[in-house]
C-alpha cells in the first residue's frame, strides 16, 4: 500500500470526501433510525392504546347490553311461569333476539337448581355452578362467571346469570345466558380480526389467569403467564395505562396495551409484534438503498475528481514548468509562469513569479559578487601586502603568498597558530601587543605598527590593519593586512634624525631667528630669540608678522628706528623652493630697551617654500657698535693727542725758519721739538699696542707653560729707569707653580707697571714687587703685586684709571700717553687673569696682577 501522502492531491481530496460522506451517512442513518424508531413506537403506542380503549369500551357495552337484556327478560318471568314450563317457554319464545345474544343458549333455573327451560342441555352441564348458586342464594342480583369447560363437549363457556324475582322481591329462579367461546360470539367479533398484519387481541380474566378469547383461537382457555414471570405483563394487568414493549412467552418482541372491562374486570389486550412496527426502519438497511448510496458516491467522487483536475491544471502545469526549470536552469531565462486566473491558484502562481523574480535578482547579485570575489581573491593573492584571516581564537585560518614571503614560514607551519606566537620577538613593544590584545578581546579593529621577526630571525617593522569580521552578529575573527614598513621606518627615522639635527642647528644658533609660515605667522623662534626678548616660545608662536612688529616696537627705545617687516611684501617672482638673497635691511639696527640697551641688526630672506614665507635673522651688534664707537672715539682722542705735539713742533719749526730769535731761544725751541717728537713716538707705539690688543688678536700671543720666577728675577734685575735709578725690591715665594703665559707680553705689562710706579714716585720712593701663590676668586693664582710709595690717586682718578688717554696728571709734568694701564689690563685679561688697583692719595699705589695657575696645560 502506498503511503497516503504520496497519493495525488486529487485522490487524497476525493478519499477524504468519501470517508467524510460515509461517516456522515452512517451517523445520519443511525440517528434517523433511532429517531424514527422512537417516533414510530410512540405512534404505535398511541394507536395501540386507543385500540385497546375502544375495544374494551365496546366489549363492556356488549356485556352490559347482555346483562340488561337478561335482567329485562327476568322481570317478565313470573311465578306461574316458573311453575308452568309451557307458559315459560311461550314467554321465552317472545324473546328470540335475547337467545341470539347467547351462543350456548338461555336457561331458566329453578331455585333448587333444576333447569326449567332452555335449548339443548340442562344447566347441570355447566361447570360454573358457583355463579348460578350465588344468584340463587341472593348474594348478587347478576354475575358474569369465569369461562369453564363444558362437561359435555369441553367447550369453553362462560355464564351470565341474573336473578328472577317475584313481586315481593324473592328470588324465584335464575336466568342464565351461556356463551361458547369456541364458537363465533360477540367477543370474538372484537378479537377475531388480526391487529395489523401480525398483531392480535387477547381477553384475559386476571382473577383466574385465563385467556378468555384471543385472535389465535388456540390460545382460548390457556392460562396467562403467572405473576412475576413477565414484569411488563404484570404491569399491564395491574392497570398500566399505556403501551409496553416486551418479549412474550413465545419469544416474540411485542408492543402491548391493556384496558380493563369494568363490567367483568377482564383485561382487553392488544398486542403487535415490534417487527411489524419497525418495518419502515428495516427498509433503511435495504440493499438497494446501499447500492444507490454507493453509486451516488462513486459518481460524485468521479465528478469531484474531474472538477479538481480541471481546477488544478494551471497548478500542475506550473509545477511541471518549475520542475523542468530546476532540472534545466538554463531554459529558465527571463520567463515567468503563465497566469490566467485570479483565484487562490492564480495568487499562488503569482507568488511563485515574484519568488522567481527575487531569485533572479539574487542570482544577478550573486553573479556580480562572484566576479568581485574573484577579483578580491586575485588582489589577496597578488598584493605585496601580507593578508591573513584568523578565527575567533586568533588562530590563523588563511594567509596569502605575500605573508609566506614576508615571514619566511610555511603555510603548514603557520595555520592554526596564533601569529604573535612565532612573529613577535624580544624587541617587540609589549605595549603594542597589549593594545592589540585589548582590541581582540573587545572584538574591535586595530591599526598598529609593530616589530616582528622573520623565520630567519631578521626583525622587520609591519603596519597591521586588522578588521573584525562578524558573521550573523557573531565574532568570527579578523582579516588583517600587514605592510612591511621597515624601509619606510628607516627613511622616517633618517628624516626624523635630519629634522632633529636641523632643529638642533637652529636651536643652537646663537643669533636670534624667526621663521614665518606661508600665512606670515611666526612658526618658529629659536631659543636665542626668546632669550633676547626674555619671553617664552609660546608667547611668540603664531603671532602674525604685524603683531610681531608691534611687539618689537614696544621694546624699542625709538620705535621709528624699527622698520616693520610686515610692511615689506614678500619678494614676488621667486622660483618655487628658492630663497632670495639675504635682504640686508636696517643693518644699522635698532636699539631695544631691555634689561640693558641692545642694538640689534636684522636681515631677512624671502622664501618660496610651502611652509616658509620669510626667515628673519637678528644679530646683537651692541658690542660691535660699542667697539665701533670706542674706536672712533679712540681715533679722535688719538688724533687730538697727536695734534698737540704736532702743533708745538709745527709752531716752533716755523718760528725757527723765520730765524728771528736768539741762539738761546732757538736752542730751547729745538729742545722742545725733540721732546715733543719723543712723546709722539711713545704715543704711536702705545696706540699700536692698544689697537692690537683691542683687535683681540689671540693668535699674536705665544702662550707657553713655564715657571715665571727666573724671568721675573731677570726683569727686576735689568729694569732700568730713565734716570738709572734702580730700586726695585723683589720678594718672590719659592716653589711657584707654572703659568701659561706669553712671557714677552707679560714682561711688557710688568714693565709698564714698574714704569708707572717710578713715574708717580717723584720723591724716589721704594718700589716693591712681590710674587706669591694665592687663592683669588676661588682659584689658585699667582699674584704679582707692584707697590710704590708715590703720589697715589684720588678715588675719582682710580675710577678712571683704565680709560684710554686718561692721565692722573693732566699737567703734563709726568710724561705718558694715558694708554699704559689700558694696555696692562688688556694683556692680563688675555691671560685669563685680573688686575686690581688700590691707591691712596699721597701714600702710594698697589697694582695686583693675578694670573691663573695652569693645571694640565689648561687654566683651572
Amino acid at each position: 500500500m502506498k503511503n497516503f501522502n504520496s497519493l495525488s492531491l486529487k485522490t487524497r481530496v476525493i478519499s477524504t470526501v468519501i470517508l467524510i460522506f460515509l461517516i456522515a451517512m452512517i451517523a445520519l442513518t443511525t440517528f434517523a433510525r433511532k429517531n424514527i424508531r422512537e417516533d414510530i413506537l410512540a405512534l404505535a403506542s398511541h394507536q395501540i392504546v386507543s385500540t385497546a380503549t375502544i375495544g374494551a369500551a365496546q366489549l363492556n357495552q356488549d356485556f352490559e347490553d347482555r346483562l340488561y337484556g337478561l335482567a329485562g327478560a327476568a322481570k317478565m318471568i313470573t311465578q306461574p311461569m316458573i311453575n308452568n314450563p309451557a307458559l315459560l317457554a311461550a314467554e321465552m319464545n317472545h324473546r328470540p333476539l335475547l337467545s341470539l345474544l347467547f351462543s350456548e343458549g338461555l336457561y331458566t333455573v329453578m331455585p333448587n337448581g333444576t333447569t326449567i327451560t332452555g335449548q339443548g342441555h340442562s344447566t347441570q352441564a355447566f361447570v360454573d355452578q358457583a355463579s348460578i348458586h350465588a344468584v340463587l342464594s341472593g348474594q348478587t342480583s347478576s354475575i358474569i362467571g369465569p369461562p369453564t369447560r363444558n362437561t359435555h363437549h369441553q367447550a369453553p363457556i362462560f355464564l351470565m346469570v341474573t336473578a328472577i324475582k317475584n313481586q315481593q322481591g324473592q328470588v324465584i329462579g335464575a336466568l342464565v345466558g351461556a356463551t361458547n367461546l369456541a364458537k363465533a360470539n360477540f367477543i370474538s367479533k372484537a378479537t377475531d380480526e388480526p391487529y395489523g398484519n401480525t398483531g392480535g387481541f387477547l381477553l384475559i380474566d386476571p382473577k383466574h389467569r385465563l385467556i378468555i378469547s384471543a385472535t389465535d383461537k388456540s390460545r382460548i382457555m390457556e392460562p396467562s403467564p403467572p405473576p412475576g414471570r413477565i414484569a411488563a405483563f404484570d404491569k399491564l394487568l395491574a392497570g398500566y395505562e399505556g403501551a409496553i414493549v416486551f418479549t412474550n412467552p413465545k419469544g416474540v418482541e411485542v408492543l402491548e396495551s391493556a384496558k380493563i372491562i369494568p363490567s367483568t374486570g377482564w383485561q382487553f389486550i392488544v398486542a403487535l409484534p415490534t417487527s411489524e412496527i419497525f418495518t419502515p426502519i428495516r427498509a433503511l438497511n435495504n440493499l438497494r438503498f446501499i447500492i444507490t448510496g454507493t453509486l451516488t458516491l462513486i459518481l460524485m467522487s468521479a465528478l469531484s475528481w474531474w472538477c479538481l483536475r480541471q481546477l488544478f491544471v494551471p497548478m500542475t502545469t506550473a509545477a511541471q514548468t518549475l520542475s523542468h526549470w530546476s532540472a534545466h536552469p538554463e531554459t529558465m531565462a527571463e520567463k515567468n509562469l503563465t497566469v490566467h486566473r485570479e483565484d487562490e491558484i492564480g495568487t499562488l502562481i503569482n507568488a511563485f513569479n515574484q519568488l522567481l523574480t527575487i531569485n533572479r535578482e539574487r542570482e544577478m547579485v550573486i553573479t556580480s559578487h562572484k566576479e568581485e570575489y574573484k577579483k578580491l581573491a586575485i588582489v589577496a593573492q597578488t598584493t605585496t601586502n601580507s593578508v591573513s584571516i584568523t578565527d575567533r581564537h586568533s588562530h590563523l585560518l588563511w594567509v596569502n603568498p605575500a605573508f609566506l614571503t614576508q615571514t619566511g614560514y610555511t603555510e603548514a607551519f603557520m595555520l592554526g597558530k596564533k601569529p604573535g606566537s612565532f612573529l613577535q620577538g624580544e624587541d617587540t613593544n609589549p605595549d603594542t601587543v597589549k593594545i592589540m590584545r585589548g582590541a581582540i578581546k573587545n572584538h574591535k579593529g586595530f591599526d598598529v605598527e609593530i616589530l616582528n621577526y622573520k623565520k630567519s630571525g631578521e626583525p622587520y617593522w609591519t603596519h597591521i590593519i586588522a578588521t573584525p569580521i562578524d558573521v550573523n552578529d557573531e565574532n568570527s575573527g579578523y582579516v588583517s593586512i600587514q605592510a612591511d614598513i621597515t624601509e619606510q621606518k628607516k627613511v622616517l627615522a633618517i628624516a626624523e634624525q635630519d629634522r632633529e639635527d636641523k632643529e638642533a642647528m637652529f636651536d643652537s644658533n646663537p643669533n636670534p631667528m624667526l621663521v614665518l609660515n606661508s600665512q606670515r605667522f611666526v612658526s618658529y623662534a629659536n631659543p636665542a630669540f626668546c632669550e633676547l626678548f626674555n619671553i617664552k616660545v609660546r608667547q611668540i608662536l603664531f603671532l602674525s608678522e604685524l603683531e610681531l612688529d608691534r611687539f618689537i616696537q614696544t621694546k624699542c627705545i625709538d620705535a621709528d628706528d624699527y622698520l616693520a617687516t610686515s610692511s615689506l611684501p614678500i619678494q614676488a617672482g621667486l622660483k618655487a623652493g628658492k630663497t632670495s638673497t639675504p635682504n640686508n635691511d636696517s643693518e644699522l639696527g635698532f636699539t631695544l630697551q631691555l634689561d640693558e640697551a641692545k642694538v640689534i641688526a636684522r636681515k631677512y630672506i624671502d622664501c618660496n617654500l610651502p611652509r616658509i614665507s620669510r626667515i628673519i635673522y637678528y644679530r646683537d651688534i651692541t658690542e660691535r657698535t660699542l667697539i665701533d664707537r670706542m674706536k672712533s672715539e679712540f681715533v679722535a682722542t688719538a688724533a687730538h693727542e697727536l695734534r698737540t705735539p704736532m702743533t708745538i713742533i709745527y709752531g716752533y719749526t716755523e718760528l725757527l725758519k723765520m730765524g728771528t730769535d736768539s741762539m738761546d731761544e732757538q736752542q730751547e725751541m729745538l729742545e722742545v721739538i725733540h721732546t715733543q717728537s719723543q712723546a709722539m713716538i711713545h704715543l704711536l707705539n702705545d696706540m699700536l699696542d692698544v689697537a692690537r690688543i683691542e683687535a683681540q688678536a689671540v693668535g699674536l700671543y705665544q702662550m707657553e707653560l713655564q715657571p715665571i720666577g727666573p724671568r721675573l728675577q731677570t726683569l727686576a734685575d735689568s729694569f732700568i729707569t730713565s734716570d738709572n735709578h734702580n730700586k726695585i725690591t723683589l720678594e718672590m715665594s719659592p716653589n711657584l707653580p707654572e703659568v701659561k703665559v706669553d712671557i714677552a707680553k707679560l714682561e711688557q705689562a710688568i714693565k709698564n707697571c714698574l714704569s708707572n710706579a717710578y713715574k708717580f714716585s717723584p720723591k724716589r720712593g721704594e718700589v716693591t714687587m712681590r710674587v706669591t701663590e694665592v687663592t683669588h676668586d676661588k682659584q689658585r693664582k699667582v699674584l704679582i703685586a707692584i707697590e710704590d710709595q708715590g703720589i697715589g690717586m684720588t678715588p675719582e682718578q682710580l675710577e678712571r684709571v683704565f680709560e684710554k688717554f686718561y692721565r692722573a696728571d693732566p699737567s703734563g709734568v709726568i710724561p705718558g700717553t694715558g694708554l699704559g694701564m689700558a694696555i696692562i689690563k688688556s694683556i692680563i685679561e688675555q691671560h685669563g687673569g685680573a688686575i686690581v688697583i688700590e691707591s691712596e692719595l699721597g701714600k702710594g699705589t698697589q697694582v695686583m696682577l693675578y694670573l691663573p695657575v695652569a693645571v694640565g696645560g689648561e687654566y683651572e
Partner: protein, 125 residues
Amino acid sequence: MMMKKILVIDDNAEIRKLIKVSLGNKFQVSEADSAANASLRLEQDRPDLILLDIMMPGINGLDWCKLIRRWYQYNDMKIILVSALNQQHEIMEGLQSGADGYITKPFSPTHLLNEVNRLFSEPAI
C-alpha cells in the same frame, strides 16, 4: 698807547708757551690752564682778547665762551678759538658760540699773529 692784554687759556703748558712766543712782546700776555681758572682772572686782568682752547678738562671752551658772551659785562672783548677740532661743522659751531675767530691746531705762529692784529685793527662797533 697801552699794550693790548691777551689771555691764553689751554690745558697744555707747552701750547701756552708756544702761543706766548708766537705773539712776541707787543702784547701783555697772561695764561690760564683751565676755563675755571680763567674766570677768576677775568675781572682782574680785563683782557682785550682771549685765545681759547676747546677740549680741556673741566669746562669745555665752547660752553665757557657761550657763558661769557651771555653774562660778562665787557662785550667788546674778542675771543679766538684755538682748537684741534678742524671739521667744518665744528668751526661753524665755534663761531656761533660767540667767538670772533677760529684757528685750527697745528697753527702757523704767523697766521695767529696776523689774526690777532687784524682783530685789534677792526673798529669797534
